[in-house]
Amino acid sequence: MTSIEAQVLQPYKYGFVTDIDSDVVPPGLSEDVIRLISTKKGEPAWMLEWRLKAYRNWLKMAEPHWSNVKYGPIDYQAISYYAAPKQRPALESLEQVDPKLLETFEKLGIPIEERKRLAGVAVDAVFDSVSVATTFRETLAKQGIIFCAISEAIREHPELVQQYLGSVVPHNDNFFAALNSAVFTDGSFAYIPKGVRCPLELSTYFRINASSTGQFERTLIIADAGSYVSYLEGCSAPVRDENQLHAAVVELVALDAATIKYSTIQNWYPGDEAGRGGIYNFVTKRGACRGKNSKISWTQVETGSAITWKYPGCILQGDNSIGEFYSVAVTNQRQQADTGTKMIHMGKNTRSTIVSKGISAGHGQNTYRGLVKILKGAEHARNYSQCDSMLIGDQCGAHTFPYIDVRNSTAIMEHEASTSKIGEDQIFYAKQRGLSAEDAVSMIVNGFCKEVFKELPMEFAVEAQRLLGISLEGSVG
């Protein structure tokens, strides 16, 4: 009669579909489809060429299956690679935006208007692959900051895009990155000029809406010498029966003494309790600390998706550069996550920190996979890794695969790992002080994740804690 039993999760709270006519390209992928996407986006010729190059490479590549996740075959010809709301609103003011879109944002708890006023967050809202609202552009423009949809950047700032796109994640980096390079339809672009500290936290909300439309976002952020930027990415998707592929690519470039802080809350539809439906979240995220004394910090809270496959990494090229990865990954019901990071030390005195918290409940399978590589020239590199796993119930699994490759004897490596089971005694203790079972679990789990949450910007941290509570609701009887 043990009280800790995996039970039924309450229905996904953000499961609704907005009824907006979408301009959807018929399913299937070919050079013609890529040409069509490029034309619809009004892209220059070099962009189309790059896409086609990626596509031709992709054709020769095989879908990777080394990760610790299981899923049925994906029919890439059954996916529609482009969907845009037909009624494309003007970007200058929110009043011109389709009210249904705004309603959707409200359901998601993203009052853009309020955020504009109260939180001072500039939101580049991506809705079904097309940006519909961009705020605070003037404030940012005054400082020379560019923050816009990537398709706009391709048209308006081709020199920057051409210089940096694919410079961190090449068009043929891996199967999913190549696919993304060929067909990406939108995403964000940010450029922070030399010495500028971005006064706002840049924020994008992604949302998959049209049925059977894969989402292929491409984000590129460049922090020029001495600049600072904090970027927030949050996701939520409506209920779907069929699996939906999400293969995004994020590239970050930090030049001399620049800092990029990239925070993600991922809450895509995880599928139902039997494991039907749910998003396949196959993402390539990588940052290059190209300059001396530069820093890139990834923080992620992954609670959604049927399958998560992502390894936000840092290439520490510049001397004294710093890479950080803070992660909370939750798998409940039939969710599977294989996530971690790659820290590639190239420069001297480079440092990296990895803190990973995996929580498994229900039948969830949670894998940490991380690579720390110290190259020959990386004198006095240091890495600290900490991987903690927490199990709730006895049907779930936690797995840890740390890979370490050291080619310089001056390196200092530290690795700590722990696995704990959320105990009946812990829950009883909290209950005996008057807390409900759910509050007790939420408190214990939040405490477990605290080292990661403290890295998140304030509003995001609050949201993350709430989300964690929702994700684990009903996991303890």
């Binding site: 009669m1 043990t2 009280s3 105990g423 009946e424 005694d425 812990q426 009883f428 203790y429 909290a430 209950k431 005996q432 002080r433 008057g434 807390l435 409900s436 079972a437 509050d439 408190m443 214990i444 939040n446 405490g447 477990f448 994740c449 605290k450 080292e451």
Partner: protein, 263 residues
């Protein structure tokens, strides 16, 4: 049970009748009878394995223990029908023999969550962090702590003695009607024992009661029990005044142990 006359004026708070309980299929309590009135302090003593801690856990509602026979009335209501959190909100507090650590959650946050869960249950307004801190100051003084303990994670990295003191801090903050202290005195040095015992004494009121589960006489030099019970083989075999505790201290438990039950 003999005792001072004032006891008789207290209200019936806890009434245990013929309580039998098992853990992992093994019967540990075999017919406990106990009456506790408001204003009283009861000490329950007994040798190892006699069922003292089981009694405390059963009253707290630990899911690993199953009540097979008997009843427990708390303020006239069926205590066993309540979930552990409901018991807590109704004023039953169990100080744990082995307090549990909760990483990443500060003592202050934990305490406030507990206080607010109870306040909410009573239909009172929940306390914000600032108001709560004000109320906490004097409680901290009671156990001789400064507020650095409030920002430490709950029992994480605490010494055995600190954990026990923390239980008493929670007791002082939550002010339950019925406090069950499960071997709170074990593992304490003399000074800590004195602080803990004095705090329990200070928290004594005509409208609350304490059940003290203990191995040792020494805590009773600081706390005046109204009744001392001896638990042996899952049953209360003898009750008396403080002098009984003293006698146990001198003679041990053998003379009082029930003869082994014959199958």
């Amino acid at each position: 049970m003999t005792g001072k006359g004032k006891r008789e004026t207290g209200n019936m708070l806890l009434q245990i009748q013929n309580l039998h309980a098992t853990v992992e299929g093994r019967e540990v309590l075999r017919g406990v009878d106990l009456v506790v009135r408001t204003g009283e302090v009861h000490a329950i003593m007994g040798p190892n394995g006699s069922g003292k801690s089981t009694l405390a856990q059963v009253l707290g509602g630990h899911p690993a223990y199953t009540v097979t026979v008997g009843s427990v009335l708390y303020e006239g209501k069926d205590l066993l029908a309540l979930k552990p959190e409901e018991r807590a909100r109704e004023g039953v507090f169990l100080a744990f023999q082995y307090p549990v650590a909760i990483r990443g959650i500060t003592n202050a946050y934990f305490l406030r969550s507990a206080v607010n869960a109870i306040r909410k249950h009573r239909g009172e307004e929940e306390l914000g962090p600032v108001e709560f801190m004000d109320a906490l100051e004097e409680k901290l003084k009671l156990i001789g702590w400064d507020d650095s303990y409030l920002n430490r994670p709950v029992n994480d990295g605490f010494s055995g003695g600190e954990k026990k003191r923390n239980e008493i801090l929670q007791l002082a903050v939550l002010e339950p009607k019925l406090a069950i202290l499960d071997e709170t005195d074990s593992g304490l040095d003399i000074d800590a024992l004195k602080t803990v015992a004095q705090t329990v004494e200070k928290l004594r009121r005509p409208d609350n009661a304490t059940v003290l589960v203990t191995h040792y006489y020494r805590i009773l030099t600081h706390i005046q029990p109204d009744v001392v019970h001896v638990l042996s083989a899952g049953r209360i075999v003898k009750s008396g005044g403080k002098e009984l505790a003293l006698e146990l201290e001198e003679r041990g438990y053998d003379w009082i142990r029930e003869p082994a039950t014959v199958a």
